[in-house]
């Protein structure tokens, strides 16, 4: 009778190791699940980009006069649009991860865009509309607008679109 009880103890100790491995595997899965998801801060980043870009155009109630080639005739400056990054102190880097677009419209009835400043890769614009499965692996878009008054009293309706890609750093692959 005593011999049978000894055999029973050996079987249970093997089972203990099995349970240990099971629980350890579960803990490993939990930790890798949680830390495998990166933080997605792209919308905040796109908001900040839109803020900084719009500040360069309109700040403290004053429209940046460099936007105009001939302010009196309301002719916009292509040179300012082309050199916007240098004029406003932005650095996008060699790999395009950002895109922004500023459009000026008439007030009170906005028709076609009077003036556009855009920098980055515009091919991502179509991804902004997509909400299919896996859309978070595309770009994050933010669209803002505001009204700006020039010194001569002209009001412009300005729309700012900013996009951040950076999917490798922000989305679980």
């Amino acid at each position: 009778m005593l011999n049978s009880k000894k055999g029973g103890d050996k079987i249970i100790s093997v089972y203990w190791f099995f349970i240990l491995v099971l629980v350890a595997g579960g803990v490993f899965l939990m930790v890798s699940n949680f830390y495998g998801h990166p933080y997605d801060v792209r919308e905040v980043e796109a908001d900040i980009l839109a803020n900084q870009v719009s500040d360069c155009v309109y700040y403290g109630g004053k429209l940046n006069q460099n936007v105009f080639l001939v302010p009196e005739q309301k002719i916009f400056s292509e040179l300012f649009a082309n050199n916007f990054l240098e004029e406003c102190g932005f650095t996008f880097g060699s790999v395009p991860e950002y895109y922004f677009e500023i459009n000026f419209y008439e007030y009170p009835v906005p028709g076609n865009s009077l003036y556009e400043i855009s920098k980055g890769d515009p091919n991502w614009k179509t991804d902004c509309e997509l909400k299919d499965e896996g859309y978070e692996k595309l770009v994050t878009c933010v669209e803002k607008d505001f009204f700006a008054k020039n010194v001569d009293g002209t009001i412009y309706f300005i729309k700012v679109l900013s996009m951040v890609r950076k999917t490798e750093q922000n989305v679980k692959q």
């Binding site: 579960g26 930790v31 007030y107």
Partner: protein, 113 residues
């Protein structure tokens, strides 16, 4: 000898139930950790941190710019027309509340009358 086998069977049954219980609890914890991982989307789960949306009464950067324009109008008719156009672009109740809430602050900050 038959009696010994009954006792062993009783112990084994206890462990089978315990194993199933451990598996179920582990499954829920793993599922929970996966859900927690998804809360790392700052925009969706921590909206108050971002607070730069027109649905928030906190700092609205672009509303401030529009308010600077609004307070530069000289007479009340121009202001009323501007408000009408502005609320046509942003018709939500939250925007109206944000507009009213921020107006006093911008008026003071910009030194407008």
């Amino acid at each position: 000898m038959l009696n010994n086998k009954k006792a062993q069977l009783g112990e084994t049954l206890t462990w089978v139930v315990a194993t199933i219980l451990i598996l179920v609890i582990l499954f829920f914890f793993v599922f929970g950790s996966s859900l927690l991982g998804k809360t790392k989307d700052i925009k969706v789960y921590r909206e108050k941190l971002t607070s730069i949306s027109e649905n928030s009464n906190n700092l609205d950067y672009f509303l401030s710019k529009t308010l600077y324009t609004y307070f530069q109008f000289e007479n009340s008719k121009q202001k009323a027309d501007f408000r009408e156009i502005l609320f046509g672009v942003h018709p939500s109740e939250e925007f109206l509340k944000s507009f009213d809430a921020r107006s006093e602050e911008i008026k003071k900050r910009g030194g407008f009358k």
